[in-house]
């Protein structure tokens, strides 16, 4: 993590004329260290793939600069950037076998044949595609093509490995196995990888740090734990985490020595003043309206809680997801035991202030997480 493998500074991407076209990536700045695995996480159209393609050199950088391993590359042709990429659409060459597809990048680098063969064999073993090496891309399944395409990228020695949705087509079991192996492979060789995905499980499992993007704007760039525990804003709060964070608008008030977070439908979450740390209490009392968020696993059922009505109850084999009508919206809570609750059953829920995320009502920016200010 010493030298910087990739520096993106103030990059804008417009499709169409600058400042008038579609603003796909907005003023993106991030720095990735050597040997790091970073996931660009976001929904479709959030700018993550545009970012990756600008790094690779397939899209022009409208404004700003990109450096790979200390060299400014954003004006260079893809071939001069020394990056490897696995494409979402696999993009294998139809006239070549899987083996030739994986090997031709090494051939361009003029490696001896024995070394090429050894590398192909080891990557093929890693990705479990040894048995299809002599087949042509059109005769193998999507999952196999995807692994061949991933292999073609991983086999190369490059300053940066770019992986665009590298495991989207794989079966869940295989995906879980390969994730572990690929992470090990990347770490062992000290490669730097950037992975584009919309699957947060994949991002959590593979990446050291996750860059959450939405609407072309980098929302948060941090480790997966910190993104979960301290989401920078309402978007990351609700986007990362499964099931998503419950959020409600609330009016802040005080009555009878307590702090009330008044929710729609006349409900109110009441807390002792001492339940909050000093700075959080001040931040809350300074505002009239906030948005509060709570993770589903932090919602507890308790007799003296606020009333809600069960609207769905799903046992997933290892946990129960209970959805309840609550405060004019819906609240999801997760319990680890199988719970027998009929639809329409009344329950009472309470939320520990330690688990409360507070966001600014207008900007969506985080104000506090539990006892700490954001």
């Amino acid at each position: 993590m010493s030298a910087s493998a990739l520096t993106i500074s103030g990059v804008d991407k417009f499709y169409g004329p600058i400042d008038r076209g579609v603003h796909a990536v907005q003023n993106l700045t991030m720095e990735i260290g050597k040997g790091e695995i970073v996931a660009l996480l976001g929904s479709s159209g959030c700018g993550k793939t545009s970012t990756l393609r600008m790094i690779a050199g397939f899209e022009e950088v409208s404004r700003g600069a990109i450096s790979v391993a200390g060299r400014q590359v954003h004006r260079l042709a893809p071939v001069k950037r020394n990056v490897a990429m696995a494409f979402e659409g696999y993009s294998l060459y139809p006239p070549l076998t899987v083996r030739e597809n994986m090997a031709f990048a090494l051939k361009a680098a003029r490696l001896p044949k024995s070394e090429v063969d050894a590398k192909v064999a080891s990557i093929a073993k890693l990705l479990e595609i040894e048995d299809i090496l002599e087949r042509y891309p059109s005769s193998i399944s999507g999952g196999q093509q995807q692994r061949a395409s991933l292999g073609r990228a991983l086999i190369r020695e490059a300053d940066l490995h770019l992986l665009d949705e590298p495991m989207g087509q794989l079966e869940p079991q295989l995906r879980a196995v390969l994730r572990g192996r690929i992470k090990h492979f990347i770490k062992e060789r000290g490669l730097t990888a950037i992975l584009v995905t919309h699957d947060q499980t994949e991002a959590n499992a593979l990446a050291d740090r996750i860059a959450v993007m939405e609407g072309g704007v980098l929302q948060q760039f941090d480790t997966s734990d910190r993104i979960k525990q301290r989401p920078a804003n309402l978007f990351t709060g609700t986007f990362v985490g499964e099931p998503p964070m419950n959020v409600f608008e609330a009016y802040v008030g005080t009555a009878a020595g307590k702090i009330n977070l008044r929710l729609p439908d006349g409900l109110s979450l009441d807390y002792d003043r001492e339940a909050f740390s000093g700075p959080v209490r001040d931040a809350l009392l300074n505002r009239e309206r906030v948005v509060i968020g709570v993770r589903p696993y932090a919602v507890r059922r308790s007799k003296d809680g606020v009333p809600a009505t069960v609207s769905a109850n799903q046992w997933l084999g290892d946990q129960t997801h209970i959805a309840a009508d609550f405060a004019g919206g819906s609240l999801v809570l997760v319990e680890h035991d199988r719970t027998r609750l009929e639809l329409g059953a009344p329950i009472n829920v309470s939320i520990d202030p330690k688990n409360l995320h507070v966001f600014d009502q207008a900007s969506g920016k985080a104000i506090s997480h539990g006892m700490e200010l954001a």
């Binding site: 690779a56 050199g57 397939f58 042709a77 893809p78 071939v79 950037r81 990056v83 490897a84 990429m85 494409f87 979402e88 659409g89 696999y90 993009s91 294998l92 060459y93 139809p94 006239p95 031709f104 990048a105 361009a108 680098a109 059109s138 093509q145 395409s149 073609r152 190369r156």
Partner: protein, 285 residues
């Protein structure tokens, strides 16, 4: 075809036969006529049984046309050669210019790219007669009238738009990422064009070239106006068979048989490419 009844198969067979007869009849009839003399051709009612003669072919190949009013010199073999030369060279030039242009139009959206591509296509909309007169005047001034170069140039009006638009479609069907993958692995864009794009669009380029060849071969009006006897292709040369002593149907038929043979052979040979070209979808990622 397990679920077709006998009746269905008979009906289908009958329909196919009808279609084949309808389309093949003129060719078969011309083929038969080419082995007959004018007298047997013009017999009423026409008869299927006749004594075949090679006189028509001999006349064409030797270039001596014997009619009731004497012997005429015809330049049929010269015309045939002209057709082969003009069509082949035109298609070659059009491929050389059109394929890189098609690639540029398919892969790079630049200012006015659509307008330029459409302008080139519009050459095919305008009737040839519209441009023929000014073209003739210019060509005479430039000294291009009645030269192979001039004709090949004008033939680009036919070949270039066809090749450009067909090949462009094939290039667009190749996912750009396949090329990117090659480029990022350390190859220049020119290597990518040569090693990836060209082979993948190969069947399409062959199909477009073939089509352009047939169009060039069949062209009549440009060659009629811009070329004199020694540069004329067969399409124009066939006019020589309308002589003062009557129309030489036998020789015309023999000339047609000889002149459609190259294109027919080419089409049959390249059928494979046409089919392959249409199944290019197998490339999709």
């Amino acid at each position: 075809m397990e679920h077709t009844s006998l009746l269905e198969r008979i009906l289908r067979g009958a329909a196919l036969t009808l279609v084949v007869i309808f389309f093949m009849f003129p060719i078969v009839w011309i083929f038969m006529m080419s082995f007959q003399t004018n007298e047997t051709i013009l017999r009423i009612p026409p008869q299927l049984v006749f004594e075949p003669t090679l006189a028509n072919y001999t006349a064409l190949i030797t270039g001596k046309l014997t009619t009731a009013s004497g012997t005429l010199d015809i330049a049929f073999m010269r015309n045939l050669w002209n057709s082969v030369f003009l069509s082949t060279t035109s298609v070659a030039v059009a491929l050389l210019l059109g394929v890189p242009a098609a690639y540029a139009f398919a892969r790079h959206k630049f200012r006015g790219s659509e307008d330029i591509a459409f302008t080139l296509l519009s050459f095919r909309f305008a009737p040839a007669l519209l441009v023929l007169l000014p073209l003739t005047l210019y060509f005479q001034k430039l000294g291009l009238a009645n030269t192979y170069i001039g004709l090949i140039w004008v033939y680009q009006l036919i070949c270039l738009p066809l090749i450009l638009w067909i090949v462009r479609g094939y290039f667009e069907d190749i996912p750009a990422d396949i090329e990117y993958a090659y480029r990022i692995a350390g190859h220049s864009w020119f290597a990518t064009f040569r090693k990836i794009a060209l082979p993948l669009a190969g069947p399409g380029i062959a199909a477009a070239g073939l089509l352009a060849f047939i169009f060039a071969w069949n062209n009549f009006v440009f060659a009629l106006v811009l070329a004199s006897a020694d540069k004329q292709p067969v399409t124009v040369g066939a006019l020589a068979f309308i002589t003062s002593s009557g129309i030489q149907y036998g020789q015309i038929s023999a000339a047609i048989v000889l002149s459609i043979t190259p294109t027919l052979a080419l089409a049959l040979y390249a059928q494979r490419y046409l089919v392959e070209g249409l199944s290019l979808g197998a490339v999709k990622g």
